[in-house]
């Protein structure tokens, strides 16, 4: 031991020594000077009236080991080990689990646990599993003897005879109870076929009900994949189990009634549904049939279109016929009229008229010629007859005669114009003769 130690070597030696010799301890004391740094670890001082020691409660332990929250002044019993911290040459308790000390602490612990679990959400209704409507098999965690199981069996048989019951026996009182209940629950899970679990016991005192306030049990119930009904027979007091369970029944009998429906009612419901189903389907069909019937009634064949069209077509046919005939007749009568008109203008009429006119002109020209001619003839005749009455030789008829010189033929009106022996011609009324002047008188 002559070796000179460095501080580090010394602290290492002390650490080894202390940790080897104080591996696991039970220490009781009062909590003081509690600190909760953000790391989540809890630092406090455990003290009694004379002494104190530093303690730390690491978060990783805290999850499962502390059944209630630490606070200054609380009396606790810790399971811990001793640990050193060489850099500073200090030692402290590493707390592994904490239990409350005394009745007040129990109630406190209950409240704390309830608050904590609530804060964690274990009682959250959203985590509540739905109970099976008609469980085929109900697991019952309870004592296999006594009134509780009998009540449950009676009620389920009465309500629905075909529900199976699987009993997972567990003590429901005493320090072992919570653990037994947990393993009973686990057994039921691992055995399978269980639709719902009733955790049941008859009524009792707060202490009797202590197992049902166990955190581990509460967490087990919370984690259960099978819905759990808590039926801890106490009308007024609630246990942690009651809060965490999917359903709380005031008594085991009530739990049985809540879980198992009446078969008769179900049959009636089913009958009713069946009746409604059939009725709905029939109504559905009838409705469609009615629609079909009305549609069929309204569905008429297009022959009336055809009839309508036929009538129109006949009308057109009749009218086109009439129009064509009428048009032709109209044109024909117009033609007849024109023909008649043309016939009336037959140039033969003109010819006839003109012929008459021409005839009258001819008559006129002949007549006017006649008139013209006769006028001239008359004039000539008149002059002619006048002239003949004026014939100077006419006096000769009365015995006169004309004496003319010869050969001149000059009419001798004075005897003196004559010479004796001269020859003269004498004209008588009838015939003439020559004579010789023998004597002249009247000179």
């Amino acid at each position: 031991m002559k070796d000179i130690l460095t501080v580090s070597q010394l602290n290492d030696l002390i650490k080894t020594f202390l940790e080897d010799n104080f591996g696991s301890l039970w220490v009781e004391g009062e909590v003081s000077n509690l600190r909760r740094p953000p790391s989540g670890h809890v630092y406090f001082t455990l003290k009694d009236d004379k002494s104190q020691i530093r303690a730390v409660y690491f978060r990783q332990y805290g999850q499962r080991a502390v059944k209630f929250d630490l606070e200054d002044g609380l009396k606790i019993l810790c399971r811990a080990r001793l640990s050193t911290y060489p850099p500073r040459g200090e030692y402290q308790l590493i707390v592994e689990s904490v239990e409350p000390q005394g009745v007040g602490a129990l109630q406190k612990a209950f409240e704390q646990l309830k608050a904590r679990l609530a804060a964690e959400g274990l009682f959250d209704p959203s985590f509540k599993k739905a109970l099976p409507f008609l469980p085929r098999c109900i697991g019952v965690v309870t004592s296999p003897t006594g009134a509780v199981i009998r009540d449950i069996l009676n009620i389920t048989r009465r309500r629905f005879p075909s529900v199976n019951i699987l009993i997972a026996p567990a003590r429901v009182q005493g320090t072992e109870a919570a653990g037994e209940i947990i393993s009973a629950l686990r057994n039921l899970h691992s055995f399978g076929g269980v639709d719902v679990i009733i955790v049941a016991r008859g009524g009792g005192s707060l202490e009797d009900l202590a197992p049902f306030n166990d955190e581990a049990l509460a967490r087990e119930i919370f984690q259960s994949s099978i819905p759990v009904v808590s039926a801890v027979g106490h009308e007024t007091d609630f246990t942690i189990c009651d809060f965490v369970a999917d359903l709380r029944a005031p008594t085991p009998s009530a739990a049985a009634e809540l879980l198992v429906p009446r078969k008769k009612e179900l049959l009636e419901t089913l009958c009713d549904l069946k009746r409604r189903l059939a009725a709905a389907e029939r109504r559905h069909l009838d409705d469609r049939k009615d629609r079909m019937v009305s549609l069929k009634a309204r569905f008429r064949d297009p022959r009336r279109f055809i009839t309508d069209y036929s009538i129109r077509l006949d009308d057109f046919s009749e009218r086109i016929r009439r129009a064509a005939t009428y048009n032709i007749q109209t044109l024909k009568s117009r033609m007849e009229h024109l023909t008649q008109g043309l016939q009336n203008q037959n140039p033969q009429k003109h010819v006839r008229e003109r012929r008459i006119f021409l005839g009258s002109l001819e008559k006129d020209i002949v007549n006017s010629w006649d008139r013209y001619f006769r006028e001239r003839e008359a004039r000539l005749n008149k002059s002619s007859s006048l002239l003949s009455s004026l014939n100077p030789l006419a006096v000769l008829q009365r015995g006169y005669s004309i004496t003319r010189s010869l050969p001149e033929g000059k009419i001798i009106r004075q005897a003196g114009e004559l010479s004796l022996d001269e020859r003269v011609g004498i004209q008588l009324a009838e015939g003439s003769f020559h004579a010789r002047v023998e004597k002249i008188q009247g000179e």
């Binding site: 002949v366 001619f373 002239l387 004026l390």
Partner: protein, 77 residues
Amino acid sequence: MAKEKFEDALEKLENIVRDMERGDMPLDSALKSFEEGIRLIRFCSAKLDETQRRVEQLLEKENSLQKKNFQDEENDE
């Protein structure tokens, strides 16, 4: 003298007649006028006859045509 006209001749004749009717014409003149008158009468008569003949010819021809047409027309009726 150009061809003697009927109208001139007729007029001369009428003048001669008128002159002679006055009665104071010497026999010589009277005889001459008378002779002229006779000649004129003859001339005019000839003219008239000739014209008349021509007209009658025409009318005859026309009548026969007319008659024919008339008969045709009657046949048409």
